[in-house]
């Protein structure tokens, strides 16, 4: 294997890693606001992509609209997950919500399998016929598009969090829920809006994953759930910058080992990376618990 192949696999991995970053942000934001893990999050994301696929089989749509529909659909699914697993279920027993989200993960998967007979379905891509060459180095157009779109979504999220009333409310609830209530901020409404926002991010990520693979398959939910959780842990629970960096890292890492060791060994090395972090830096890249009182 030549050096340039290593560079190429890493750069492709970083570009694709933005989808993991989006999924990681979703996990980490829900954890930040509610201090709970939503294991149905990746299923929400893939579920959104499936809804957009289903609509595109009824009406022919340009790919970009399909992606947008995926985001909106996943936002709605995210809200339903919130209602079923966090609003109607008592919050004071941590295992209840966790198991409810596992149930939701399986439920969404089963609905998808039922509706598609478990067969992979074609998903549209953008710029998959474009390739940018710089001498020996090159970038896939579709991956570059994924990278740009994902980063645009992250910028919109940061704008929401740091420049709007909704953002003040979200961060206030995450940092000090009782004081947030005393300021007149509704915790339940903030929780719900967090599920909708993260759902939309996830729906976009789900669409990007489908677009880069070229198909949607129910087999995607489990690996995306696992990668999302790994990204969250490596980034540091509750840290958005951590999730972004960890997402790119995991993307690069898995693609590198895909090139070096092949597809069957790839995920073993990703698990090894997680193991190394859990051993040597269990709080992740951006450890935050020290700042909470």
């Amino acid at each position: 294997m030549e050096f340039i192949d290593i560079v190429l696999s890493i750069s492709d991995g970083v570009l694709f890693g933005t989808t993991y970053a989006l999924i990681g942000i979703g996990f980490t934001m829900i954890f930040g606001v509610m201090h709970k893990i939503n294991l149905a999050y990746a299923a929400t994301s893939i579920g959104g992509a499936y809804v957009s696929w289903a609509i595109s089989t009824l009406v022919p749509l340009p790919a970009i609209l399909v992606f947008l529909i995926s985001a909106i659909a996943a936002g709605v699914i995210g809200w339903l997950v919130y209602l079923c697993c966090f609003r109607l279920v008592p919050l004071d027993t941590p295992l209840t919500t966790l198991l409810a989200t596992v149930g939701m993960l399986i439920f969404i998967d089963e609905v998808v399998v039922h509706e598609t007979d478990g067969m992979p379905q074609p998903y549209p891509a953008i710029f998959d016929d474009v390739f940018f060459e710089f001498g020996e180095f090159g970038l896939r157009g579709d991956l570059l598009f994924i990278f740009v779109l994902s980063f645009a979504a992250m910028l919109v999220l940061l704008y929401l969090l740091y420049r709007t009333r909704l953002g003040i409310a979200t961060r206030a609830v995450a940092q000090q829920p009782m004081a947030a209530q005393l300021c007149g901020i509704s915790i339940e409404r903030t929780n719900a809006s967090t599920f909708v926002i993260t759902g939309m991010l996830g729906g976009l990520a789900g669409a990007m994953i489908g677009a880069s693979v070229g198909v949607l398959s129910p087999l995607l939910t489990l690996p995306v759930t696992v990668k999302g959780l790994i990204v969250t842990v490596i980034g540091g629970l509750g840290s958005i910058p951590g999730a972004i960096i960890a997402g790119l890292m995991v993307g690069a890492f898995e693609n590198l080992f895909l090139a070096l060791r092949g597809v069957t060994e790839r995920d073993m090395y990703v698990m090894l990376l997680l193991f190394l972090f859990l051993t040597f830096r269990p709080g992740g890249l951006f450890h935050r618990s020290a700042l909470r009182d």
């Binding site: 003040i168 004081a179 005393l182 300021c183 007149g184 509704s186 700042l291 009182d293």
Partner: protein, 240 residues
């Protein structure tokens, strides 16, 4: 202006408040004394709607606010400076103030900006640190911020839960000066305090809460003469 009538608030089976009745007069500084675990904080959280009482009523300006959501109570005009300050540690000082004005959906942005300016004038240290994360402030500065954040809601009645807790004597003096200033500017204040000597200097009326019940109700003069309070809260030596 605030009337608490026979309020019972419980955590599970344990009743922290066992029928509390008291009133806070308009334009006054009312002080609630009591040992740890007496239910003082529980009462504050019940008035502000964080906890729901099992029985009894809370009336504000002759309107029943019992069991309302905290947002509605802030909008009605009651703000709490919570125990232990509870600033938003990873938000800047300015953002903490903006969060304090969250309930004022009817106010124009310029009006809120004016109020922030007024807070910076009242607490110059906050202006110096307006872009700093609140978690990096000293205890005294965080207490100022917590007061300023509550004031950003433009309350008619300000509740303060042990604002002097854990602060150096000089800072405590400063906090009580702020209490006096706020009162002079027309805000009614309901103050929870363990520092009876300091409270004697500012308050117009006293309640003593013990084991979830009001066991004393009187003026500063009556309080200073009460033997039990003498022994438990004022001691024989003057420490203030």
């Amino acid at each position: 202006m605030l009337e608490v009538q026979d309020v019972v608030t419980a955590y599970g089976k344990i009743e922290a408040l066992k029928g509390v009745t008291l009133r806070v007069g308009e334009g006054q500084i009312t002080c609630l004394l009591g040992p740890n675990g007496a239910g003082k904080t529980t009462l504050m959280l019940t008035i502000t709607g964080i906890l729901k009482p099992r029985r009894g009523s809370v009336r504000f300006h002759d309107k029943d606010i019992t069991g309302q959501a905290p947002g509605g109570i802030v909008r009605a005009g009651i703000a709490l400076v919570p125990e232990n300050r509870l600033v938003f540690p990873e938000m800047t000082v300015a953002e903490n103030l903006r969060a304090g004005a969250y309930s004022r959906t009817g106010s124009a942005a310029s009006e809120i900006a004016n109020d922030m300016e007024a807070m910076y004038n009242r607490f110059p240290r906050l202006r110096e640190r307006s872009t700093q994360m609140a978690g990096t402030l000293s205890g005294g500065e965080q207490q100022m911020l917590s007061v300023a954040r509550a004031l950003m809601a433009r309350p008619k009645l300000l509740l303060m839960d042990e604002p002097s807790l854990g602060l150096a004597p000089m800072i405590v003096e400063e906090i009580f000066q702020i209490v006096r200033d706020l009162h002079k500017d027309g805000t009614s204040i309901f103050l929870v305090e363990q520092n009876a000597h300091m409270a004697l200097q500012v308050a117009h009326h006293f309640y003593l809460l013990e084991q979830g019940r009001v066991t004393f109700d009187g003026t500063p003069g009556e309080m200073a003469e009460d033997e039990v309070i003498q022994r438990a809260y004022l001691g024989t030596r003057q420490t203030a």
